[in-house]
Amino acid sequence: MDPGLALMIASVFKVATRVRRSVAATAVAATLVSGCAVNDTGAAEVWDPIETPNRFIFSINRAVDVMAIRPVTVLYRDWVPEPAQKSVRNLLDNLGEPVTAINEVFQGDPSRAATTMARFLVNSTIGLAGLFDVASMLGMERTKTDAGQTIGIWAGKGVEPENGGFYLVLPLAGPSNARDATGLMIDYAIDPFQILPIAFNWDWFYYSVPRYGLNVIDYRSRTMFALDDIEKNSVDYYAALRSAYTQNRAELIRAKRDKTDTKGELERRDNLALVR
């Protein structure tokens, strides 16, 4: 490897670690603040101090979605042959494997990270640059994780995974919170497929634009059914999605924390029966 590149990756790592620490601290601080603000009966609403700007971004996102992203996704879903869609998904998934592997190391699961890297090597070569998921056929199951989950795991036992700091709606990316948005930035910074194009000066137009475009369409096609369902069956779509997003992220983090420690979550539900 080019020593300059190695140095660059190392420095990015260092920055990422520092960011992670400060974010963990922020998350803990946020918890303390919000912990004082509400009586935590286990039925507390998602902490959303910037609800007005969030709703504004949310409505813009929805307009863009209705006018552009959703129609394109429907065409993609209904007209592109299923094997092609599957290959696109495999390709994008494969590009995401290094980030998952790095996060799995930081989550204290190096053996899982090794499997993910093995998957990446197998699929990038035998799987023709990731178009085919050969590794799954060989029994190496795919896992997906991100820095938001890594922060959630290290935030400590006292921090419920439901508490990801303040709720945040990102332009285009949609529902998020302080924890997951920071995670997104970390993932961007540690992604070799973001660093390489910069290091080797790849043409942005031919690499990054198609990757982002395909990612948006692929992600939208996967979430179509669930999002349509929530929208149709809610009286306040924003609030329903805020709750669903928070619960789903919490579930992913909780599954990674102590595998037997479902007690906290179940106790929350027990308490829920007491509040009404």
Binding site: A43, E45, V46, D229, D236, A239, R242, N248, A273, R276
Partner: protein, 200 residues
Amino acid sequence: MPLPACRRLAFRLAAGATIALIAAPALANDPAADLVSSTAAQAIDIVKAKTGAQRQAAIQQVLQTRFDLPYMARTALGIHWAKATPEQQARFVKATETAEAKAYSERFGQYSGQTLAIGKTTTRPNGVFIVDSRLNQTNGQPIKLAWEVRQLPAGLRITDVKIEGVSMVMTRRSDFNSYIQQHGGKVQPLIDELEARAAR
């Protein structure tokens, strides 16, 4: 009886007894899991046989007999339940029931041969059973479903479904709570909205 046949019979009896020993406790001790699997089977039968308004009516029937809808409605309304008049409460329960039936019959409209694999049941100290299950799809990743089952005087009833960690009741609760807050903290606008949707 010749000796080999006799041996075979003995072997079969022993095998049968072993299976009975393993299977019997699993079946007898897990009425919560039975409730979930029979509900799923019933719903799939309805989806295969009926369409449109008939399907919705049949699904509503299943919801009424297998789910504790008044309890779910009460939990979804949260602190606003106590503020509502008995008449409002009754109308709210009725409206959410229709809304759920409509939502479920539409969801099942997309049914294409998925199967439900029931996993383990966890019993909570407060008498709640959590039944884990997995919805296996014909294409794509299986979906994680957890069912909350409670004991009522009338028998066991499902009180919540969690899809990939997202509780239906909790999501409704946030949804309704936010709507009520935006309409001056009153329950009536929510009931009107739900009734208008049910009539559509």
